[in-house]
Symmetry: D2
Subunit: 111 residues, 4 copies
Amino acid sequence: MKVGGDDGEILTRLAQTLNARKGADPKLSYTAKLFAAGEDTILKKIAEEAAETLLASKDGDRFHVVREVADLWFHCLVLLAYHNIGPNEVLSELARREGLSGIEEKKARES
Amino acid sequence: MKVGGDDGEILTRLAQTLNARKGADPKLSYTAKLFAAGEDTILKKIAEEAAETLLASKDGDRFHVVREVADLWFHCLVLLAYHNIGPNEVLSELARREGLSGIEEKKARES
Amino acid sequence: MKVGGDDGEILTRLAQTLNARKGADPKLSYTAKLFAAGEDTILKKIAEEAAETLLASKDGDRFHVVREVADLWFHCLVLLAYHNIGPNEVLSELARREGLSGIEEKKARES
Amino acid sequence: MKVGGDDGEILTRLAQTLNARKGADPKLSYTAKLFAAGEDTILKKIAEEAAETLLASKDGDRFHVVREVADLWFHCLVLLAYHNIGPNEVLSELARREGLSGIEEKKARES
């Protein structure tokens, strides 16, 4: 699938889909089930996917790394939706840091 | 900061900046230091930022969640650069899943 | 159940039980199933239980903390058995550090 | 260092030492510094040490696994002390499960 200059639109569209599933029947969708299960279940999935990213990287399995990072970001989007946060707020935070450079970049993250 | 239809461009630009820092002097940049420290250091940061995302969410601190998810995604971008993977590959994987829906979405992730 | 001066014997006995289950039928025991599933499955459980410990602590649920730390240590014992390491080696390492104190203790861990 | 039938005493003695450091000057001890930094700092260390255990295991470095599991258990003891929980409560929970076997063992953990 082609992903062009509109990469971010995928995150935005995914976020819209996730929002629409917030009140949906848990039986009909994995995401609706996650929302119904609640915050701790979403957070456990983030921890799990982070661990799986570590394992995939240590295995040197490039394709697996892509899938696990996608899993991790997906569950982050679910958490953001849970808190009514749009992915654009995270991207703006990243863009803000992009303006900084070198050691300043680190200071910004530590402050 | 405004983040419009070009959200994904931020990820792409960040990835370009990260790639440029791969061989840079570790003293001049936090990212160059991460690359010099190697894979395990990058992976530990991903685990750390995932944990901090959990803590921020449990504190119900919306602003903190944004910052920790940004930290988590940033270090994922560093890992992707380490493996010579562009963020567009992760976004394509997410887009591929977006085409699926409901329970199929779950099956796709489990397959 | 009473746990007296022989606390460590519980870890040793558990390790013996775990070792005995290494080649056992995965259908008969959760632990045998873990060993059959392999290293990554055991490691994911450790990451999961660590995350659940974080969540239990943030909830301030004392009883839940006890159970999650027990889960975490249990899966560490499974990992140790996987590597043919006895829990006494971990306890010896802890005892070695106990001999150190103050800031030296930190240095020992960092060295 | 010899660790005999009194393995558990090491955990108990460590817990006593940790308790004694709760109000101590953060400058004098790594542990006192952890307590002064508070719950989130202790929890981040648990997440970090769990991640380092994963990495050590994937590297197949037996000695490193021992040290990382010791680090993980040490920081669990700090968390237990933070919540005024003795390690004997965790060992009792493990002993309780030891009495269970096979699939029942799993059910006990899931209940």
